[in-house]
Assembly symmetry: C2
Homo-oligomer: 398 residues x 2
């Protein structure tokens, strides 16, 4: 018997692949500051935890494949507060944003079809595309340019007769970049001209700094039929483990197909959908405190790393990540070394090598993604360790 | 833009596709007895609901991709009680049995590869295969033979150089058939000879009637490297909405690949994994009462339908389903008619047309699946309605 090529081509998560080294360090009593994974330490809202305690049922039964109507209603209401008109019937609830991506890629692309995506990008786009045999065609964005989009000609160059969609994520994981209305408009014009879909990953919608605003793809009325939004409660309400995501689209055919995929796996988790209902019922003021907290952390990272010799980063605009160019040849080796060799008073720091966030081979080899998911004091300590580690790293290049 | 062929080829769930007709009947005040879906009315064990109430956390955070260690440990212990040796490291927790199937098919089969499966089979095998472009090659089993396996020559005939696995489900959904040790052994010899995988869906392990015993594929030491078991808490503990399934295998390569797929979607739901830990901690006596209850219901169905003119069924041996041949030409039309036209004192009954449980086109056109998931009194009423409806159905053929 043999393992499929599908399995063989599937990458290990660059966010999780170094975990065995972290586990080993911990087993030796070393404290590891985790900046490798987007697991915030922000508390899940008490209203959500209360909903858990108060959830009453005799039978934890299947729900509708499309998701519990009250949850779809709650999402519709929440989007309405941003001026976005999405009916409950235009929402499909999924097992996290991950399944929202799996369904969306499945609906728009066949084996060997292509989706254009600016790189670096959320690494699991790769994983999901690899499972389905879909090819991600990258457009490279650069640390020096704050990871903003290159001219639209780059999209033209990447386009082929196999192109089925463009995929954007803003505020961006892993770069922290927010696409401006102007940038969005250029892509909208492109997908309209080409007659392809635009998939937007808007899971970090609320986390925008320095007064910036997120621009949803759904603001562009001229392209409504071509837009599919992928979303999730994970980061928004600091409930990553709940695995409740969603797809929404104004194009009814997309939703109909989405429900078909949803039926093939019966339903999303029932208990956690009820928690999500409580989360989406929170007043919008909830986000003010969270946003302030992330901006404070962003400042810690920015102030620690800006202007440091050999380090390239632009001030992150949103989400809670940044991709930083380091004076090393192989950031995976460096990240591993942090876990195996570097120690500061019995502590070390873990980051994610950025190579796996690119589709172009060799790209990101001297970059890491930092998730600023720890409170300011811990984050300062982690930044100091990172800088000290770079000073003494045997593989430092400049 | 265009919808993918992947989406177009994906079938609607035959279990769920008639739901709009049921909803319409209900909106007119009609009471519908649901025998179409495997949603038991058996209460979720109080220990599980207590675990829900007592679940304490500040942050509902990501868990390990492979699943929470305590849950894998609990599954290992549970399997040990059946004399099955599965280490916690040999288990991958999934989003329900559905994702367990998705991962397993993905690991063993590429686009256009084949998996041999006796039909009728659990309809979502079709859905998941269609998503991945994997072909299910059916071996037909027959109502007249109690849906037991045909001679192994049928498997030989179905085998091609694209065959990657055989897939068995016992106790079977939708037929209620339990494969004997002898039947299992023949398939084991076949997969050993051919050097392919055997995937076994053992989610109904406990539901065996008249003193029968379930025979796990893992009992066959000569094939341990070739066996992948798909499992779920859904029916076992009457917690279908929890979406906690698992894969286990003694072949470490399978588990390693499984973890890679698991990483691509981060983790299974955290809260519900904790509920599953409580469930797997139940004493084995828990199943005695549940099994008795299902056997009582099986008897209701059997006594109501056996020997009735034009109806073919064998006494179901396990699970809580049976596939029944009816004197109709098109069971989908009949099932729809039950919802749109048939009324008995303001009530009707819903069954699942069996066509979608077959891969061979046209098969099962005069069969329905009955899930006996209602308590005995309601089930008697439902059987009476089904028989009465057959009497007056305009499309009756004999």
């Amino acid at each position: 018997m043999r393992i499929s090529n599908r399995a063989k081509r599937l990458q290990w998560s660059p966010i999780r692949k170094l975990i065995p080294y972290a586990d080993k360090a911990k087993s030796e009593g070393v404290r590891v500051y985790h900046l490798n994974i987007g697991q915030p330490d922000i508390k899940t809202p008490p209203e959500v935890l209360l909903a858990l305690k108060e959830f009453k049922t005799n039978v934890i039964s299947y729900g509708p494949s499309q998701g519990i109507p009250e949850l779809r209603e709650a999402i519709s209401n929440y989007l309405g507060k941003y001026g976005l008109d999405v009916e409950p019937d235009e929402v499909v609830i999924t097992n996290g944003g991950s399944e929202a991506l799996l369904f969306t890629f499945s609906i728009v692309a066949d084996d060997e079809d292509e989706i254009i995506v600016p790189e670096p990008f959320y690494t699991n786009y790769n994983g999901i595309a690899q499972i389905l045999g879909v090819n991600l065609v990258p457009i490279t964005t650069k640390a020096e340019e704050g990871f903003h989009l290159p001219p639209i000609e780059e999209f033209e160059r990447a386009f082929s007769k196999k192109t089925r969609a463009v995929l954007l994520c803003s505020p961006n994981n892993p770069t922290g970049t927010i696409l401006s209305e102007e940038e969005m408009k250029k892509v909208i014009d492109f997908i309209v001209k080409k007659g392809i879909f635009l998939i937007t990953d808007e899971v970090y919608r609320e986390f925008t700094f320095d007064g910036r605003k997120h621009v949803s793809a759904l603001k562009f009325k001229e392209a409504l039929d071509q837009i599919i939004v992928v979303d999730s409660v994970s980061k928004r309400f600091s409930m990553c483990g709940a695995r409740i995501g969603s797809i929404y689209a104004k194009n009814r055919e997309i939703i109909t197909e989405g429900i078909k995929f949803a039926q093939a796996r019966l339903c999303p988790p029932t208990v956690e959908q009820h928690l999500a209902i409580a989360a989406y019922g929170l007043p919008m003021e909830y986000f003010d405190g969270v946003k302030r907290e992330y901006q404070r952390r962003r400042d810690v990272v920015w102030n620690a790393l800006k202007g440091k010799e050999g380090i390239v980063l632009q001030k992150p605009e949103g989400a809670f990540y940044t991709v930083v160019k380091l004076p090393v040849n192989d950031s995976e080796e460096f990240s591993k070394w942090l876990l195996t060799d570097y120690r500061s008073k019995g502590e070390t720091v873990m980051v994610a090598p950025a190579g796996g966030f690119y589709a172009t081979p060799g790209r990101g080899k001297n970059e890491v993604r930092i998730a600023y998911v720890l409170e300011a004091e811990k984050l300062k300590r982690a930044m100091n360790m990172l800088l000290e580690a770079l000073e003494i790293y045997p593989g430092r290049t400049s």
